[in-house]
């Protein structure tokens, strides 16, 4: 068997598209049983058929819905070993000067409160796993946690905040002896449907694409599968001593200046 996640159960939030969907595919291919959430039901149905994963419509910021969601996961698969807090948005965001309170609150609700709820409920479920407490939680931050964007203040702030959240949770779980690891990944620009949409909508899509490619010294954006590869590593027992870490995956974008 090639799978390195045989016997494990994973939950992916925001799993219907983009990095989330790629991770659902990869975790399933490694042998995990996968449950994912989101709101795009049609995309979800196709992904379930393709991978054998299960789906529940749920928004991460819906605190009241979390216990029921965890019940569904445990009802379906009996345990939880991997949680990927992936759901995120920049909808309503703007610069510090222009951002409205509704936009700010929406992005904080999804990117920050939603991640807090995911990590919190994952820990509660993982603590109670049959054969003993344990698990791996992965938080999807962004390189903008360390390189904030001027035109997206809330996004930048929340992505920095969830790095601290991951570390705090990692230290807490370690000190409690839960055998639960928590790490943050910081992707650079990834070729998601969202980015493709933004590019297609530009007056000159090719020029826009070239500009996005040039943001990384590698001269290209990350592919979805490349992020999923890192998620699979952190999810597996291969990373048993990795906790509280921030992993940049950005083609050297934040490693320094490109120079002349």
């Amino acid at each position: 068997m090639a799978g390195r996640l045989e016997g494990k159960v994973a939950l992916v939030t925001g799993g219907t598209t983009g990095i989330g969907a790629a991770s659902v595919r990869r975790l399933a291919a490694e042998g995990a049983k996968v449950f994912f959430t989101g709101s795009k039901e049609e995309a979800a149905r196709a992904l379930c058929e393709e991978t054998g994963a299960r789906f529940a419509a749920h928004r991460v910021q819906d605190a009241a819905g979390w216990p029921g969601l965890i019940d569904q996961v445990l009802g379906a698969f009996g345990r939880l070993d991997i949680a990927f807090a992936n759901a995120g948005t920049e909808s309503g965001d703007a610069s510090i000067e222009d951002v409205g309170i509704d936009g700010w609150n929406n992005v904080v609700a999804v990117n920050q409160t939603g991640v807090m709820l995911t990590v919190q409920h994952a820990i509660r479920a993982m603590k109670a796993n049959p054969f003993g407490s344990g698990g791996s939680i992965i938080v999807n931050s962004s390189m903008n946690a360390t390189r904030p964007l001027g035109n997206y203040v809330t996004y930048s702030v929340t992505k920095a905040a969830v790095c601290a959240l991951a570390k705090s949770a990692a230290v807490h779980c370690g000190q409690k002896g839960y055998n639960i690891r928590v790490n943050a990944i910081l992707p650079g620009v990834v070729e998601t449907e969202l980015i493709m949409g933004i590019l297609a909508a530009q007056a000159d899509p090719d020029a826009a694409r070239a500009m996005y490619n040039a943001m990384s010294p590698m001269g290209r954006m990350a592919k979805l599968e490349e992020i999923a590869g890192l998620v699979a590593y952190l999810a597996s027992d291969e990373a048993a001593f990795v906790s509280g870490a921030e992993l940049a995956i950005d083609g050297a974008t934040t490693a320094g200046m490109m120079g002349v």
């Binding site: 291969e238 995956i249 490693a255």
Partner: protein
């Protein structure tokens, strides 16, 4: 989606300081993933440790006695890899030594020695393997991969560890510099640094014994207990847990990772 069981088939790797500790664990893991591996260390090829280890590792592994601080030894090592395999996809600059003590007590020779092994050793390895790895990397998704072993001591300072801190900090930024350089030139080599926390290896044991001799503690176990207590995960790392990280960085799975730091410290620097 099809995933293969052995994920470094057809790859050639070079690991410095490969006879002990983290280096040996990397060698064993790469072999298990189907790679061919050349390892270096200071021991003579006919030493008991080298002969026993190489007999156990089998045909896919070969040994070269080479000091990472000596440029002519690197030239010899690269020539051997070329002759034997004609290519190289993975370089783990792992060989390293430590040095502790109050800064005013450190000798110039001691400082030069640790700089020459931990810093010159990494520079020379990268310098001499770059042409071959750039060529070999063309055939591989994500290119070739350089993995430089820094430390959590390359991220934070520690009492009476200043010289070692300096060397590991240098490795961290040297790695970022070459990562940007390669990426920008479209040279198919990625470079990342590995930052182990406290790992149960001969290096750690020797270091703890030295602290005991200097009167910092009664016995090494007391120091281990202190480290374990200050590590959120509550134990030391095993060398295999560093090897799994090196394997990830060596594999296609990390094809977009370059210039990054992989910290494997059980949460030690997160607090």
């Amino acid at each position: 989606m099809e995933l293969s069981a052995q994920r470094l088939k057809g790859r050639v790797a070079f690991v410095s300081g490969g006879l002990r500790g983290i280096g040996l664990a990397c060698v064993e893991r790469f072999l298990a993933e189907g790679a061919e591996v050349v390892l270096s260390d200071l021991d003579a090829p006919d030493s008991a440790l080298a002969t026993e280890t190489m007999a156990r590792l089998g045909q896919a592994a070969s040994y070269v006695s080479a000091n990472v601080a000596k440029e002519e030894d690197w030239e010899r090592a690269v020539a051997l890899v070329k002759e034997r395999h004609g290519k190289c996809h993975v370089l783990v600059n792992n060989a390293g030594v430590d040095l502790t003590g109050a800064v005013e007590s450190l000798s110039m020779e001691g400082w030069r020695r640790i700089m020459s092994i931990n810093v010159d050793g990494v520079f020379l390895g990268v310098k001499h393997f770059t042409p071959l790895m750039a060529e070999s990397g063309k055939d591989v998704r994500g290119g070739s991969s350089i993995i430089n072993v820094s430390s959590i001591m390359g991220l934070v300072g520690m009492n009476e560890v200043s010289a070692y801190n300096a060397t590991k900090g240098a490795v961290r930024l040297f790695t970022k510099g070459i990562a940007i350089e390669f990426a920008q030139k479209q040279t198919p080599i990625r470079a990342n640094s590995l930052h182990p926390g406290f790992v149960e290896t001969p290096l750690l044991k020797a270091g703890f014994q030295r602290w005991v001799d200097q009167g910092f503690a009664e016995k090494p176990d007391d120091l281990v207990a202190g480290v374990v207590a200050s590590t959120p995960i509550g134990r030391l790392a095993q060398p295999s847990e560093l090897a799994s990280a090196a394997f990830f960085l060596a594999s296609e799975d990390s094809s977009y990772m370059t210039g990054a730091e992989l910290v494997i410290d059980g949460g030690w620097t997160a607090q």
